[in-house]
């Protein structure tokens, strides 16, 4: 079930993109808007650029999922990727930690950089990249181990041994993920006994435990109830003080609440990217306006 879920989105993205060319808008407008858009006038995102994407195209075998996408993600801010199902936002997110490498027949054209380094250059250490770029998935996926062991997993893979230092790290990370008070008495319990929202915060803690620079979140709250969703959103706002966050979401209110910059994708193309406040009040593109006002998608 979960396995197919993870697979279907990119595939539909690809088929939708190839099967149905964008009818209502002239093509010239689409390509014109696909240039890197400068982010201006947003006080929340003044920082250095952490991630860049230049003319990125992505293929699943013969079908294309992304078409010349260009984007810049500022450091220590939240960038939201929005768009209808199958628009390629998850595919784009997964190019930042090369999670797409796992798919047979996946191919990338264009450049993706982290701190100026090309991530798809031959010889890049993908394992190290994934330590620098953490990821939280749509469905909470804690390992069937104890709460403690889930958080300790990443550090252990790096070679850290059990002991006081590990205990401190686990506590600090769980505190960062606003989960410590709920689980401090039962660190040895199975993580699978936690509620869905707690499991998702545990997964966030697990990612933070390897001290990443970037945190990717793929619809982190879409399977959660409103209370748990609120907690995750609050957490994202706290975490951006220290991490660069890219979040894929279906929920436009959520994008408006938590992000500094929003990128709108449709059928594998980047339609518009701008400061969130501007996208949601005065978008430059008709398509964006139609989407955020709920006229389609």
């Amino acid at each position: 079930m979960t396995e197919t879920l993870a697979m279907t989105e990119p595939t539909t993205a690809a088929t939708a993109a190839t099967a149905a060319p964008v009818a209502p808008r002239p093509a010239s407008r689409m390509t014109a808007s696909a240039l890197p858009a400068p982010v201006q006038g947003d006080p929340a995102a003044p920082g250095r650029i952490a991630l860049t994407v230049e003319k990125l195209s992505f293929f699943y075998g013969k079908s294309q999922a992304l078409f010349g996408v260009s984007l810049a993600v500022p450091e220590r801010s939240v960038t939201a990727l929005i768009g209808p199902s199958g628009c390629g936002k998850s595919t784009l997110l997964r190019t930042f930690n090369r999670m797409n490498d796992l798919i047979d027949g996946a191919r990338v054209e264009g450049v993706v950089t982290l701190d100026g380094e090309d991530l798809y250059r031959p010889g890049v250490d993908v394992v190290d990249l994934r330590r620098r770029v953490g990821m939280v998935f749509q469905r909470a996926n804690p390992f069937p181990k104890s709460i403690y062991e889930n958080v300790a997993f990443g550090p252990r893979m790096l070679g850290m041994k059990s002991g006081g230092e590990m205990d401190d790290l686990v506590e600090r990370t769980l505190r960062q993920a606003a989960l410590w008070d709920e689980v401090r008495e039962r660190l040895k319990d199975s993580a699978l006994r936690l509620s869905g929202g707690q499991q998702q915060r545990l997964c966030i803690a697990r990612s933070l435990a390897v001290d990443p620079e970037v945190l990717l979140m793929d619809e982190p709250a879409s399977a959660l109830d409103p209370t748990s969703t609120a907690k995750i959103e609050e957490l994202v706002l706290d975490l951006k003080a220290r991490y660069t966050i890219v979040v894929v979401t279906h929920n436009m209110q959520q994008a408006a609440r938590i992000s500094d910059q929003t990128a709108f994708l449709m059928q594998g193309k980047l339609v518009e990217v701008d400061a969130t406040s501007r996208i949601f009040t005065q978008p430059r593109e008709r398509l964006t306006e139609d989407y955020i006002t709920g006229r389609f998608g």
Binding site: T2, E3, A6, M99, G134, N141, G154, M157
Partner: protein, 330 residues
């Protein structure tokens, strides 16, 4: 909006023909009900037939054998040309054989499955070829394995080792070692298929979770995938054990002995085995009347051993799953 309006328009129109429900006349409905009852009966009878067969087999064996299975029977050697005494050497031989086989087959089978499922690209011609070979290996009749074992292990490998070490005849003869290796070969597909099945059942999200934390592929396999697949791997192991315990053909030429007054103490010894002993008692006895109870008893012990192994597997699997907090259904 337009789509919704079109749907409303169609709904508002009167239906053009008769309602499909009018096809179900009372007569037809009665006939359908009749067929329904009939097929419930037929499928039920087929099931009952299977249950009956199992009951008859078990009943015959238990009724014929329970009197024979005494401590003496279990712990003594055959006596008087196998018309009296016990079957201890056969029980011991079977256990030793199966133990050696598991040691040989589990590491190779599990590692091969890990390679096929976790490392090899599913679309590569090599993977396809290996899968094809595994599937075909599973379809080879066991007597062919027996002959292969004799030719390859005993005559080629064993004699070769003897020559290389300048020995007389130590390895170049039927032995429990060669029988166990032949059985292992026979069971390799069982272990590979069961392990692959178990690996496939580990959700993609678990793998991605591990990789996203910067685990290497091996770390992911070792710390996330294999622990979750362990119950399935164990099932495969036990399946191969219960199959191995009952197979006679592969060991016929490679190490099983008609009668041995001693137990195998070295890998190059021959051994007695329960399945082969059943065959011997049934066909080679000088006195059928006196052998019959022993035959029943031996079959009962063989079945008991197999069932005990299966129950151990189920118990172990449930225990491991509970330990992971997955519950019995996961």
């Amino acid at each position: 909006m337009a789509i919704r309006q079109a749907a409303l328009d169609v709904l508002a129109r009167p239906a053009p023909g008769p309602s499909p429900r009018e096809f179900a006349t009372p007569r037809r409905r009665a006939a359908q009900a009749g067929w329904n009852v009939l097929w419930t009966g037929v499928t039920g009878l087929a099931t009952l037939w299977i249950v009956l067969i199992v009951v008859v087999i078990l009943g015959t064996v238990v009724l014929g054998g329970w009197r024979t299975v005494t401590p003496t029977f279990l712990f003594k050697n055959p006596e008087q040309g196998m018309t009296a005494g016990g079957i201890f050497p056969a029980i011991f031989g079977t256990c030793a054989l199966v133990f050696l086989m598991i040691i040989a087959v589990l590491p190779v089978g599990v590692l091969a499955a890990v390679y096929l499922h976790e490392y090899a690209r599913a679309s590569s011609p090599l993977t396809k070829l290996v899968r094809f070979a595994v599937n075909n290996l599973a379809g080879v009749p066991s007597i062919v394995f027996g002959l292969f074992g004799l030719g390859f292990f005993v005559q080629f490998l064993g004699r070769g080792m003897d020559r290389a070490m300048g020995l007389d005849v130590v390895f170049g003869q039927p032995a429990i070692l060669w029988a166990a290796l032949t059985l292992a070969l026979l069971n390799l597909p069982v272990v590979i298929v069961a392990t692959e099945e178990a690996l496939r059942a580990v959700p993609r999200t678990a793998r991605e979770g591990a990789l996203a934390l910067g685990a290497t592929r091996w770390q992911m396999v070792r710390h996330v995938v294999l622990p979750q697949a362990l119950p399935g791997v164990l099932t495969g192991a036990i399946l191969s054990v219960s199959r191995g315990a009952g197979e006679v053909a592969p060991i016929l030429f490679t190490g099983a002995a008609y009668y041995l007054p001693y137990l195998p103490t070295s890998p190059t010894d021959q051994f007695m085995e329960l399945g082969y002993h059943v065959y011997v008692l049934a066909t080679q006895s000088p006195d059928v009347e006196r052998t019959l109870p022993l035959l029943y008893g031996t079959v009962l012990v063989l079945l008991g051993l197999t069932f005990a192994l299966n129950f151990t597997a189920i118990f172990l699997r449930a225990k491991i799953r509970r330990g992971m907090g997955l519950g019995d259904t996961a």
